[in-house]
């Protein structure tokens, strides 16, 4: 039996799933819910492994979860087109909107595949904290050192915090307001003032200072007075 994935033909056995054939042939399909523990059950719950089943004859193409899609002879699959990318991105956004934002206190920050995927799919809503290994007590904020990680775009793999220095937001502040507000609250909870946060943000861009300032006003965040 043969199927075509991204224009290349591969042999497969009846009963195999498309995801497994791709994996055997080093074709990367992201997935969050499929792992060694539930490999046989196939929960097909995260929908990140979506691929396009190219329609044969007059049939319309369909998006299917590759982990639960059984192969059939002559099947044609596309894992990398714009429709697939956009759909996966939308699924990730939905998952992220339901997700706990407290990366700073999460046990897998610094090694989080979900955060990596969000970055890969260019989703604005994942902060440097998701990539930072200094979680909980190791967090700079918990040690009274102002780190802009909670309001900064992920994507640098938390280079500075991995090298022992707090984040200075060189990747720019997030535009996702929910995450930004959450991050600003974290500064407040750890005793940092408005002026201190704005001062730190100035290093790379005054535009970012303006964004943070407006949010602080809108949500009445952080004490405006400088603490002693």
């Amino acid at each position: 039996m043969k199927i075509t994935i991204d224009g290349k033909e591969f042999s497969c056995k009846p009963g195999q799933k498309v995801y497994d054939v791709a994996e055997e042939n080093d074709i990367y399909i992201p997935t969050l819910c499929l792992n060694k523990l539930n490999h046989e059950e196939r929960p097909a719950g995260c929908r990140i492994c979506l691929v396009e089943l190219v329609g044969q004859g007059n049939a319309e193409p369909k998006l299917e979860s590759s982990c639960s899609l059984p192969v059939h002879d002559g099947m044609e699959i596309s894992t990398k087109n714009k429709v697939v990318y956009d759909e996966r991105r939308e699924v990730l956004e939905l998952l992220l909107s339901e997700h706990e934002q407290d990366c700073r206190n999460c046990g897998i920050s610094g090694d989080c595949y979900f955060a990596d995927l969000c970055f890969e799919y260019d989703i604005d809503g994942v902060s440097v904290c998701s990539e930072c290994p200094n979680r909980k007590d190791g967090c700079f904020l918990a040690r009274d050192i102002l780190c802009l990680g909670p309001v900064t775009h992920a994507g640098c793999n938390a280079f500075c915090t991995r090298n022992g220095d707090p984040c200075e937001s060189c990747f720019g502040v997030l535009s996702n307001k929910d995450v930004l507000v959450f991050g600003l609250e974290a500064f407040g909870e750890n005793g940092f003032t408005r002026d201190q946060v704005l001062e730190a943000a100035k290093v790379f861009s005054y535009e970012e200072v303006r964004v943070l300032e407006e949010l602080m006003d809108e949500y009445d965040l952080l004490n405006k007075e400088v603490s002693e």
């Binding site: 040690r143 050192i145 280079f159 090298n163 220095d165 290093v203």
Partner: protein
């Protein structure tokens, strides 16, 4: 020859933009000019008001080649102003970082920028076909230098781990041991590269002009990280008095300031260091220097490229010794993400470090909150511009009549390249003419 017009705009294979202008009429020289048209940078202005913790990170961005040197000079100035102590181990690690950068920059200049002139090519690319094995060796040395910078600073350019008072994260003993093995493995490669350059060195012009050479000097070591300011004219000046040495002034053809000390100009860089500190070179480096007939005081600016090669050998040898020293004493434990306790206070401090192109000065004044109120940075290339100009003024009359225009142009370009200028770092000054 009757008339000569050389107009190189801009000189290639140097960092930034510099022009060479030569006009001669009927064998008589009318004008020789080394012009710097690059836009000024304003770093000294925009660090004003910034807290002491940010200055090294910001000023390191002055240069993508000497970022480690700028960060260290900045840290030394801050540490001087705020009386911050740095442990012996951290000083050694900083010296190691500086060697990494010195090797990076020198290998880049000798191997990719100057070498094409010696083999008669316009760039390094044709060397991949004409001298593939030699070029691979040069690249392997560059890779080694990058690796040393990464191990000590966290990345190859724009160091992250260098902070006031020490390091935010230290390299592991295993990383240092691996680095030492690689450095030891590079010694035969260094010899091969040196003998390759030796075979081509007859292409270096034989030109001399007596001038002053200024660099750091130290009683116990070939000075890079620490020392006093030495001149081949015999003066020794404490680093705090650096302004009495640099004496900056402005000239109309340049956005970079020029400098002078005892004479009309002076030279900084590898040749200046070698001229002032020859006796303290490592044994292997001295061997290479002797091989090229390079001994103090050498007044041929073209030999700066050879002095850089000698310094690469010195850096490798000294790095091996430094790693041995650090590992013998054992790396002191410091907490995860170490941030030293520092009490900000008002003060002024000066830092001077020998970076690849010569002596670099940073001076900061801080207020009692530890915010910078005044900054001054004097970059090595600034200090060389005057010397380049005076070299050209002496050289062109010697060349007119003996060589054709193309050859004169190449000889002048090679002169500029020998100084390995980093032009965009050196520009500070902007001349505004108001038209009424």
């Amino acid at each position: 020859m009757t008339n000569l017009n050389v107009n190189v705009e801009h000189v290639t294979r140097v960092e930034g933009h510099g022009n060479i202008l030569v006009d001669a009429k009927e064998g008589k020289l009318e004008r020789v000019m080394w012009e710097i048209p690059e836009a000024p940078r304003y770093f000294e202005a925009f660090v004003k008001g910034k807290p002491y913790t940010q200055l090294a990170q910001i000023t390191a961005r002055i240069c993508g080649i000497c970022s480690i040197g700028h960060a260290l000079t900045s840290l030394k100035a801050t540490e001087d102003a705020l009386d911050i102590e740095v442990s012996e181990q951290d000083v050694k690690l900083r010296e190691l970082a500086l060697h990494g950068e010195n090797m990076q920059s020198h290998v880049l200049h000798v191997g990719y920028l100057a070498l094409p002139d010696l083999v008669g090519e316009g760039s390094v690319i044709p060397l991949a076909t004409s001298h593939p094995e030699e070029l691979k060796k040069v690249i392997s040395l560059h890779k080694l230098a990058n690796e040393l910078s990464r191990v000590t600073c966290g990345r190859t350019t724009h160091p992250r781990r260098l902070i006031p008072g020490g390091f935010s994260k230290l390299p592991s003993p295993l990383e240092l041991e691996n680095m030492k093995t690689k450095l030891e493995g590079s010694v035969p490669v260094l010899h091969e590269v040196a003998s390759f350059v030796k075979g081509l060195s007859s292409a270096l012009p034989d030109f001399e002009r007596e001038t002053e050479f200024i660099s750091l000097t130290h009683d116990d070591e070939y000075a890079f990280y620490d020392g006093k300011i030495a001149s081949t004219d015999g003066d020794i000046t404490p680093v705090d008095d650096y302004l009495s040495v640099t004496n900056e002034y402005v000239v109309p053809q340049s956005t970079a300031k020029y400098t002078k000390n005892n004479r009309e100009s002076y030279m900084v860089g590898a040749l200046a260091r070698l001229n002032n500190n020859y006796d303290l070179l490592s044994p292997l480096a001295k061997e290479v220097a002797e091989d090229f007939g390079l001994s103090p005081v050498c007044h041929n600016p073209y030999m700066n490229t050879i002095a850089q090669l000698v310094e690469v050998v010195h850096s490798v040898e000294d790095s091996i010794n430094l790693i041995d020293d650090i590992l013998d004493k054992g790396i002191e434990e410091q907490g995860l993400n170490h941030q030293p306790d520092i009490e900000p206070k008002a003060g002024t401090g000066v830092g001077a470090v020998e970076v690849p192109r010569g002596i670099l000065f940073h001076e900061y004044t801080y207020d009692d909150e530890g915010r910078c109120t005044k900054a001054n940075c004097i970059i090595p290339t600034n200090q060389n511009h005057g010397n380049i100009q005076h070299d050209m003024e002496k050289m062109v009359p010697e060349l007119i009549g003996n060589k054709d225009e193309k050859k004169i142009e190449l000889t002048l370009e090679m002169l500029v390249r020998a100084y390995d200028p980093c032009i965009s770092c050196s520009t500070h000054y902007v001349d505004v003419n108001f038209i009424e």
